[in-house]
């Protein structure tokens, strides 16, 4: 509900953009000081600011999958550790999936922000910002504490200025999450077909990594001892600390400027504003219940597919009440006088597996948040005012809300497929808004290798792109990340400089498109060759049995392939999508991701677009004839009109049944 506080739109806009700037400055610090290619170049990290009630206020524009899970993680970690146990200059590290985290690689470092403020702002930027900032960066010893209640210690600003006693007040938390290349466990890069969480690496419940501006060496040592890539990971942790330092400085500076009361007031106003806009955006969505089913090919230990079922209900009065109570939401009798809400229900997904494909609640929440956000105005801020409308029922003990001690490292594969299924369900109500099936798997590749030249143990991780699904009026882009994932490719030259590996090929996969009026994007092939060393290679992925689905008459994209030694020596061997394989010197692993699904019947595709694809070698002449029903003269590069007409006249409706199903039930509540 909108607040009754007076609303000054000018100061509002000033504070709003400054808050976003806080997290962008954090991201810049993290990105530029990180060690690993995964964090720096691939940008596999995110930053956020939470207020003292742990409401997410501002986020950097980074990886949406992280941002959604942050929202769960930080509040739970704060509660678990106790805000009363944190002081200025402290930072907490956590990655426990069952404390709101995701997989163990995604490790968060967060810092409480204190301001030596009375209820009004002190306004002095000199003393204010230094009070906390100096302590953190310079590592000054903590001021003599004045008891364990509340603030626990005085700000250093007090000592310096000799001012009357001012207790530092807790303002909120800044947090930096990064995907660490390795966190120990049963396979290099800590990804692999594991059966329980204890095989996946070091589990960190909330503990202090930094106390009073100093790294807690005992903890840091204990963590690093578990990790293969010690030096790089130590550097990445320092980068996270640097990001938080930047965030703490910037937030205290903001409060110096605006005063604490005003700051708090405008944070509330920002959330109200976002909530208002979210509500008005939701009211534009089509009402009804939309469902879709799908599956992962297998779980990594059994051949049994992992069944997924999603249901989205949109309408007045939907999704009120506590997030996880499904009964009310799904079956409520719509009352058109109430505000429009959206409810996500995962009932019907398989029970969790003794396999790595389990998603945590936070991860599943993140998929729903992404889907909802993608339907709204691009300009909408993302904070608690938005997240409070993401209502989700994910039954405990299932693959979308795993419980201890389920393995979760491959939960992202499930999470991102859930995301794809949400769009498939919504295609029934918003056919022009969504895409056909996308890569919709994280496509994680990792390897560990002992460099025979230097004796150093190397560990590498990356996630590969694939085809995006066709859209109502646009083709699916080739080789691109989809949904909550937006990590870059590691430059081949950088990888080869740092690791004893040779990327022997990085290319699009021709003819991997899902044919459609708007075709799906092409998949990506990346071959890892180890010329001199034995290596352990891990694949944690999916889609080698079924490619991404088409929509409205579009056809599925080519499925994924994982091949050992595709061009020799010896005969190529097919690998599975979830495996650890020991490589001999000279071996090559070829990672081939799927093409996107097509949208609309392929024989309705503009022949000139088909011509362009054929000329570019993305689609073969034969494929153009067979699926798109277009005849092309490759001497002159023109469409053979007569031939095409003949082909198209004989085109039977080439509908390949969409696997799984997407349905819409219930009457539309929208009049007219």
């Amino acid at each position: 509900m909108p607040s009754s506080l007076p609303f000054d739109p000018i100061r509002f806009e000033v504070i709003r953009s400054a808050l976003t700037q806080v997290t962008e400055e954090m991201a810049a610090a993290l990105r530029r000081s990180a060690y690993s290619t995964n964090i720096k170049t691939r940008q596999d990290f995110s930053c956020a600011f939470f207020d003292k009630d742990c409401r997410p206020i501002a986020q950097s524009f980074a990886q949406p999958v992280h941002l959604g899970s942050f929202v769960e993680l930080v509040p739970r970690a704060v509660r678990a550790y106790g805000p009363e146990n944190m002081g200025p200059g402290d930072m907490i590290v956590v990655n426990d999936p069952y404390s709101g985290g995701s997989h163990l690689n995604d490790t968060t470092v967060f810092a409480p922000v204190f301001h030596p403020s009375q209820s009004q702002g002190r306004g002095s930027s000199e003393t204010g910002s230094q009070g906390v900032g100096r302590t953190l960066s310079g590592g000054n010893s903590r001021q003599q504490g004045n008891g364990m209640d509340g603030g626990r210690s005085t700000g250093s600003g007090q000592g310096r200025s000799g001012r009357a006693e001012i207790k530092p007040r807790l303002i909120g938390y800044v947090a930096a999450l990064a995907h660490h290349v390795d966190v120990g466990g049963g396979a290099p890069a800590s990804i692999g077909p594991f059966q329980e969480i204890y095989q996946e690496g070091i589990i960190i419940q909330p503990v202090k990594l930094v106390e009073n501006g100093q790294v807690v060496e005992d903890i840091f040592k204990l963590i690093l001892a578990q990790i293969r890539s010690k030096r790089i990971t130590a550097g990445d942790f320092r980068a996270q600390i640097a990001a938080n330092l930047a965030g703490v400085r910037r937030v205290t500076d903001l409060i110096d400027r605006h005063g604490l009361d005003q700051f708090n007031q405008y944070v509330d106003l920002l959330l109200d504003y976002t909530a208002r806009r979210t509500q008005s955006e939701m009211a534009k969505l089509p009402f009804g219940t939309f469902e879709a089913e799908g599956q992962l090919d297998y779980d990594g230990f059994t051949d049994k597919p992992v069944k997924l079922k999603v249901k989205i209900t949109i309408g007045p009065g939907i999704g009120r009440g506590p997030a996880t109570s499904s009964e009310r939401a799904g079956d409520a009798v719509p009352d058109s006088s109430e505000p429009v809400g959206v409810f996500f229900d995962m009932t019907g997904c398989d029970p969790q597996r003794r396999a790595p494909v389990n998603s945590t609640y936070a991860m599943t929440f993140s998929a729903c948040a992404y889907a909802l956000r993608a339907l709204m105005d691009r300009d909408l801020p993302i904070n608690d005012g938005f997240y409070r409308y993401v209502k989700l029922n994910a039954p405990r003990g299932t693959v979308v809300n795993a419980v201890h001690p389920g393995a979760v490292v491959g939960g992202w594969e499930t999470q991102i497929r859930v995301n794809d299924l949400l769009f498939k369900a919504l295609s029934q109500g918003m056919p022009r808004a969504v895409a056909a099936g996308c890569k919709a798997m994280m496509a994680q590749a990792g390897f560990g290798v002992l460099d025979s030249r230097t004796g150093e143990y190397h560990c590498n991780y990356e996630a590969l792109a694939g085809g995006y699904g066709g859209r109502f009026s646009k083709d699916g882009p080739d080789a691109v990340q989809g949904h909550g994932q937006n990590t870059e490719n590691a430059p081949v030259e950088e990888v080869e400089i740092n690791y004893p590996v040779r990327i022997s090929r990085l290319s699009l996969i021709e003819n991997s498109d899902g044919p459609g009026r708007q075709r799906g994007g092409l998949g990506l092939r990346r071959d890892y060759h180890f010329p001199n060393d034995a290596a352990t290679f891990t694949i944690l992925s999916d889609r080698d049995l079924e490619g991404p689905w088409g929509l409205f008459g579009g056809m599925p994209g080519e499925k994924a392939h994982y091949v050992l030694n595709p061009d020799g020596p010896g005969r190529p061997r097919m690998l599975t999508s979830k495996c650890v394989v020991q490589l001999k010197p000279g071996d090559t692993v070829s990672f081939q991701t799927p093409g996107g699904g097509g949208y609309g019947p392929p024989h309705e595709r503009d022949p000139l677009l088909v011509l362009k694809d054929v000329r570019d070698g993305k689609v073969s002449v034969a494929r153009a004839r067979e699926f798109y029903r277009v005849a092309i003269d490759t001497e002159t590069w023109v469409v053979n009109r007569t031939g095409t007409e003949v082909l198209r006249r004989s085109a039977r409706s080439p509908i390949t049944p969409v696997e799984g199903k997407a349905t819409r039930t219930g009457p539309s509540l929208r009049s007219g």
């Binding site: 100061r11 937006n486 071959d527």
Partner: protein, 814 residues
Amino acid sequence: MGPIGKLGASGSIQVRRLNPLSPCGRGRVPTTVGVEGSELTSAKTRRTTPIVPTRYRIGVDIGGTFTDATLVNEASGEVRIGKVLTTPHDPSDGFLSLVRRMVKEAGILPGDLSFVVHATTVATNAIIEGKIARTGFVTTDGFRDMLEIARQIRPSLYDLQFEKPPPLVPRYLCFGVPERLDAMGAVVRKLDEKAVRQIAAALKKEDVEAVAVCLLHSYRNPAHERRVGEILRKALPGVLISISADVAPEFREYFRASTTVINASVRPTVGRYLRSIEKRLRDDGVDAELLVMQSSGGVFTFSAASERPVFMVESGPAAGAVSAAHLGRALGYDNVLSFDMGGTTAKLSLIQGGQPRVTKDYTVGAAAQRSAGAFGGAAGYPIRTPVVDLVEIGAGGGSIAWVDSGGALRVGPHSAGADPGPACYGLGGGEPTITDANLALGRLASGYFLGGEMKLDAVAARKVIQDRCAGPLELKPDEAANGIIEIANTAMVNALRLVSVQRGYDPREYVLIAFGGAGPMHANRLAEEAGVEKVLVPMSPGTFSALGLLVTDLRYDYSQTLIRRTDDLDPEDVSTAFEKLEEQGRAALAHAGVAKGSQAFERSIDMRYFGQSFELNIPPTFPLPRVASGRERARVGVEGTSATPALDANWLEALNTRFHDAHERAYGFKVATEPTEIVNLRVTAIGRISKPKLRDLKKSSRDPKSALKGARKVFFTAPSTAPDAPSTKRSKSGATPSGAGRASSAASGWTDTPVYDRYRLPAGAGISGPAIIEEHDSTTIILPGWQGETDVHGNLLLTRIPSPSRVPSGRGSG
């Protein structure tokens, strides 16, 4: 003074006093405006005695709407400016006609021109408009799709309808050639020359105009790449071949390839364009040196520009930063924030140690997204050539204010442009803009816009603000207008922070130099918000940018990837690599006719902690192969001496120390025990060009009263610092309007404000804020709590009035 002489960093002060000029107004018929000599000219000529026959330089800046030119008399420093409408069908038409008219009006001969310096968007426009040459791309077998795959990311996170930027070379013109080097540069697979010849044949059949070659690890060993180039050149006469090892020999293949492809694909267009200008100038009898402004802020010859046009994609914006750097240096300010606010955008950049900060992390074709966070760049094409590090945002005089669906007031990025322009122009604009808000608040005078050439309609401005903003938000019109300004200021302060704080520099240690038509109106407020203590407003801010063309040096940038841990580094290797780079630079400078004595070389090294992925550029701590000028000595030697330390262990230690310190400044920590490594070596070869001399104001009384035009009511806002903040509490004794403005609790409101004529302000005149200073092409605002003073060159310096026991200046007017 010869055309190429030493840099006069000390001694002669090189700031010009521009005369009151009357360039045409926006949207009106432009004319070339010459400047008749004024009394200032004679004052100056008395001081300067020409030692060579008088020669002239002309700088020509072709923008989207106008082509600006600046003509400087090398001896007297007299400056003329001119403006014509840009001629988009062939920009060289406007160029030529403007040069002719300026030469004629100055009463000189074309042969009197010693330099013609050009800033042009021809390269950028070719990319943005897709008017590039038919280009082929040759890379290592297996990597043909490098340009298609690009960075595999989406430019916007939550947009399901996103597009990847289309590759500049279609896939059927991309070829993989069998060959392979490893990361050490060793040959793993021999180059298949037969395959190269087959590719050449295919490219010939496809009738390409240009080819880009980028093979894996060619930054380490360019042999294969050069051989491919040879074969292609032989097989494809007339086709322009660009080799990545020549254009940007740095690792990370996609970025190097993209740079090379952009270079190749704009070469034919840029070459034709420059040749056409050269021919027409020569036909007119101009025998001057012809130079082009590079993105880095240096200039290079037309022939170098035709070879490496990717170095000039940000030609225009660089000129403003160069101008600001030059003015800062001349006045003794080495640390400057350059703030250029025009009609559609505002640009901020940082000048460190007298030089604009230069970056290599840059994207072409996505300018609007430059500040849009980590993925903004994914909407365009990366280049790895030096570009002045500036942040450009959609906040200019024409930026439109609007109310979004959540009831928040927003400004930009849409602009009303010049046509229809702001509502107050009366040309049919129906949206409230920043200019309308400034007018509504009394900051702009309706009768003195462009010196009164253009009447502004204040009633229309207030009405449109009322209708579009104040009404829907239930605000008073003043509050809404003030809100528009404050929101735009916030966006600019954020941009300012991006170029300073986010790069590890504290804006409080910098002087803000404000220019562009709208810059001086907003600068004081920006300074107040960002904690900047000094604001400098040059004369004629509206044309200040074009002067940058005439105050820079020839510059050639070279780099080489050399990845080595510093604990396993042979300084000889570094020396050798540097010398090779300098040799290239020396050859280029010699080719451009630069005498030995005017050549200079700056070295720097990109470094990181071993295992990090990104580098910090560390200025050198080792000898230069010549006597450095005073300024450079200060920049170069940590020890601050001119002694030349050898490249040995001490040198390495000093280098490491510098790196650790730079890292701490940038990221807040350093790890002295951690091994470091060098990544890229860089050399900038500089050919010094003498700077035009400039004139002083006549010293007279320090009393500004003679310049007082009158007074009007102006709306000022309170500083955003908390109202009861101790730092803003000050004694009201001796209160002036300024003191009252700041001390009163959060008072925003209308204040009687004196208005001065800038052209009549004598040197040394001091003015307390609030005050308004008007000149032909801009208006400067001095806020309450600040004071302004004119220096001997006519620059206005704004500073905070000391507090709390501020002595009333007594020379201000209240």
